[in-house]
């Protein structure tokens, strides 16, 4: 009996030990793009750090001076070193001027948050008082009057305005392109996708502790209770996500169970069933693989797959770029 128990325990152990191998996803491609020389550090001006990554390129700005503020400054672009530069202005210009890349110092968030991108001044929707009500004026067109206008948003490309308004005891979610959806409850902030074509609004029911999500195309999801968490559009995606408790929804359909997280740190696959999640210690993939201390993460689509590329500093000197599909 004792031997049988031991054998069973051994079998369970072998089975469990083999499990990670079975669930292990694709191995990442690893490449050391630069090794910091003694005294070199990532430039950290004003509590920002200058590392940028795109599908094609990785750019670092380094300082080799006193502390982390330099000079001299250097640019490392895809392993090639430029410099030294004496002035911060010059090194930043050398790193980013004339290139279609983010300056590297601004936040990176996997959720689309367009606050920093403003449409041109002639494409900013405005609210005006009119005859005891309110109208929305956008690119020369007037919408309304309504009893009251709630949230108003213009897409950064200036193509569309979205707003919520009530009119004769009915609440509406309206797009300047003609789409109009009746909603119920108290509308919260309007969210739209990075191409501006898809949008949604969550509405809280005043009578019950519940709410619904309405899309501009007329779909309605809910009711959801207090465990409903924020909605978001990932950067570069027309799909929207929200969490209800530990259940993740993509375009209103349940996908996977996951603990609560910051949408800024969540990189979903195109079908929403796989993901990569950033923590301060690891980049965690939904297949269980963990990669330590990712400094910069970027995701893109390639051959029908969502690919994650990230930069890490290993052995206190090696700048390593990894890449793998989710």
């Amino acid at each position: 009996m004792k031997e049988a128990t031991l054998l069973l325990a051994l079998l369970v152990f072998v089975a469990l030990a083999g499990l990670p191998a079975l669930t292990q996803g694709p191995q990442p491609v690893r490449k050391v793009v630069y090794s910091l020389e003694p005294g070199e550090k990532f430039l950290q001006p004003e509590s920002a750090i200058s590392i940028s990554a795109t599908k094609e390129s990785v750019i670092l700005v380094l300082s080799k001076g006193k502390g982390d503020k330099g000079p001299p400054f250097f640019v490392i672009q895809d392993g090639n070193k430029k410099g030294p530069f004496k002035k911060l202005k010059d090194v930043m210009a050398a790193a980013y001027d004339g290139q279609d890349q983010e300056p590297g110092i601004f936040r990176d968030c996997a959720a689309y948050r367009p606050q920093d991108e403003q449409p041109s001044s002639d494409a900013v929707p405005t609210v005006s008082e009119a005859g005891g009500g309110q109208t929305v004026v956008f690119k020369g067109n007037t919408y309304g009057p309504y009893t009251g206008v709630f949230d108003v948003k213009g897409t950064p490309d200036g193509s569309r305005a979205y707003f919520t308004a009530n009119d004769k005891d009915k609440m509406w979610f309206i797009c300047s392109d003609g789409r109009k959806v009746q909603v119920a409850g108290e509308p919260r902030e309007i969210l739209f996708s990075s191409d501006g074509k898809n949008a949604l609004v969550a509405c809280a029911s005043s009578s019950e502790n519940s709410g619904f999500v309405y899309t501009i195309d007329g779909k309605k999801f809910g009711p959801f209770g207090e465990d409903f968490n924020e909605c978001w559009f990932p950067v570069g995606s027309n799909s929207f996500f929200f969490l209800v408790g530990d259940q993740l929804y993509m375009n209103g359909t349940p996908t996977i169970k996951i603990e609560r997280f910051d949408p800024c740190d969540f990189y979903p696959s195109a079908d929403g069933k796989k993901y990569a999640l950033f923590t301060y210690e690891n980049l965690v993939f939904s297949d269980g693989m963990k990669y330590p201390f990712p400094l910069k993460i970027v995701s893109f689509q390639e051959n029908g797959q969502t690919v994650i590329k990230w930069v890490a500093l290993e052995n206190e000197k090696d700048v390593v770029v990894y890449q793998r599909a989710i």
Binding site: K41, F42, Q44, P45, E46, S47, A48, I49, I51, D68, L88, K89, M92, G104, I105, F106, R107, D108, Q115, D116, F278, Y280, E281, P292, F293, P294, L295, K296, L313, E316
Partner: protein, 273 residues
Amino acid sequence: MKRTSSSIRERSRERPVVGLLLCCLVLSAPAAEQDYAAIFGPKYAEAEQFLKRNSWIADSLDFPPLETGIALAVAFPEIIRFSVLEDRLQMRALKVLYVQYGRKYADFSVGHFQMKPTFAEQIESDYNRLFSPEEKAATAISAFATGDSVGLRRERVLRLDDLRWQVRYLRLFMMIMGKLYEDRAFEDDLEKLRFYATAYTTGYALGEKTIRRMMLTRHFHVQLFFPKTRYNYADVAVFYFKRQTTAAAHVFCLADDIVLWAAKSGLATGVKR
């Protein structure tokens, strides 16, 4: 008497007296040399609104009004700066570098009060060292875990990401300053505020001599990079403090006038202060 949090609570009862003092002192105080509300414009107003909107911050500090006013003024210039930067800067990599390798690889300012991990480390260490278990119990903040591991640094970064914890760190900063400089005689509350504000922005562990020297320097700015003009941090703190206390003093004075008028008119019955 040592300035423990229990004694601070007792001092809360002095509120009307403090109010009257402010009423007399602040209204007669000279105007600030520079109008920082105009200089920083909407960002100043946003920072002011932030504190008004989040009145829980003042409540959570759990100090009497004067100390609360000083604490908020100490942090106020950083709130202006945060309202300029919001969370636009790429902090993630710095946080990761700090968690991975520690303070020698990254030290950065985070959140509304623009606190650095090294500031939090210092606060935690001094709080553990300077406060008795009874004082810690009264403060309702447990001793911090000691050491310098990835796990502890990660926990610290998560605390700094949390505004409620930033308020707790600000509270501990005020309490630690109270302990460290208990015997210092400040000319007045404004000089104390200048000293505290400079210590907050430059590092209170630098010592009194350095802090006093730094009180004269201009390092504060609200540009992302390449600032054209820099300001004295303590000046901005004092400007905010004066504006707040002047406004409060007007209210106190008005309330006193009403009480006085009510007493004279025989309407004082039931009026409680």
